[in-house]
Symmetry: C2
Subunit: 167 residues, 2 copies
DNA sequence: CGCAAGGTTGAAGCGCATCAATGTAAGTGG
DNA sequence: CCACTTACATTGATGCGCTTCAACCTTGCG
């Protein structure tokens, strides 16, 4: 989401299989924009076909509600994190979060995940400055919580990182 | 929403006519709790009856989607505000927001609204401490932006307050 | 009266922003 | 192949915004 003053807030990172937002399934609302960091495969839905389909197959509605519930829960959690957490906690949670979501997709090996985010993406998602993101990541590396190669990230000390995240 | 450490984050203030959350219409999920500040009139829905009703009357589904869209938009805006605004902006926005929502319901007279919130509620909603909320409100009063009586609030300088809110 | 809830004010300090400089690697055109 | 640029990461110095801690005041209430 881009602010009037040109800054931006990243509200979520989409992983393979995610839909952009349940809201968009019904209305072409564009409070926000979507940007690709990696190569992307995507598909689109025809809104009218989708509505007909939902009326015909109630079990699809149930699946949709589930998505909706999850989306709202994550939105709430995001607000809480942004309002109540320190920089360390926000960044540690972001990493753990991405790790869990990728692991659930079988996209984590050992404790390592692909990590195409630049520091300014982390800053955009956590509401911090790039400079401070850099310091926190350096601190995490110095404490041997994580290790970062060019485009991947390894969690060396899951317990320590979870402690930093206050989780 | 109550945090593990006992603090809480207020995600929204419900006004007459609001539903608690569209999510709750379909699943008894309770990530959050609801607390009454004033006397309250409420009604409840039977989830199964509601689902049947929605299948029979598509125009109801449309209304529901509208609620859903608004709810998500407000959740996003909340995250952005919490991540990117100063204390002054957050508090000014909270006041302007409540004022607009009440005005739309015909519940504002002149520039005055009922305002049953205590300072700790404002703190809970903005992610600030009570002490700082107090200072900001004092500042707003000194600058003649607002005036507060026991349980009401008057916007003396809408333009100035909007400027403080960065809107 | 004593107590609880809410509001106000001051002093001190930390967390993060801001500003600025420096480094490195990859890409681009002459 | 070199000069230049662009993107990203890193580091230091300084300061503001907000928290924290603490005290004190007012009001309403059992």
């Amino acid at each position: 989401m881009t602010l009037p003053d040109g800054r931006r807030q990243i509200l979520s990172f989409l992983l393979p299989g995610d839909i952009v937002s349940t809201v968009l399934l019904f209305e072409p609302v564009s409070q926000c924009s979507v940007e690709a960091i990696t190569e992307v495969h995507y598909r689109i839905f025809n809104r009218n076909e989708l509505k007909d389909l939902l009326l015909k197959h109630p079990y699809l509605s149930d699946k949709l509600f589930r998505l909706w519930i999850d989306e709202k829960a994550r939105a709430n959690q995001l607000a809480v994190d942004l309002a109540r957490s320190t920089a360390d906690e926000r960044i540690a949670r972001l990493i753990l979060n991405l790790f869990d979501r990728l692991a659930r997709r079988g996209m984590a090996r050992d404790q390592t995940i692909d990590f195409p985010l630049r520091q300014h993406h982390i800053a955009g998602a956590t509401g911090l400055t790039v400079v401070h993101v850099n310091r926190v990541l350096s601190e995490f590396r110095r404490a041997s919580l994580i290790e970062t190669n060019e485009r991947s990230l390894t969690i060396l000390d899951p317990i320590g990182l979870r402690r930093a995240a206050n989780m």
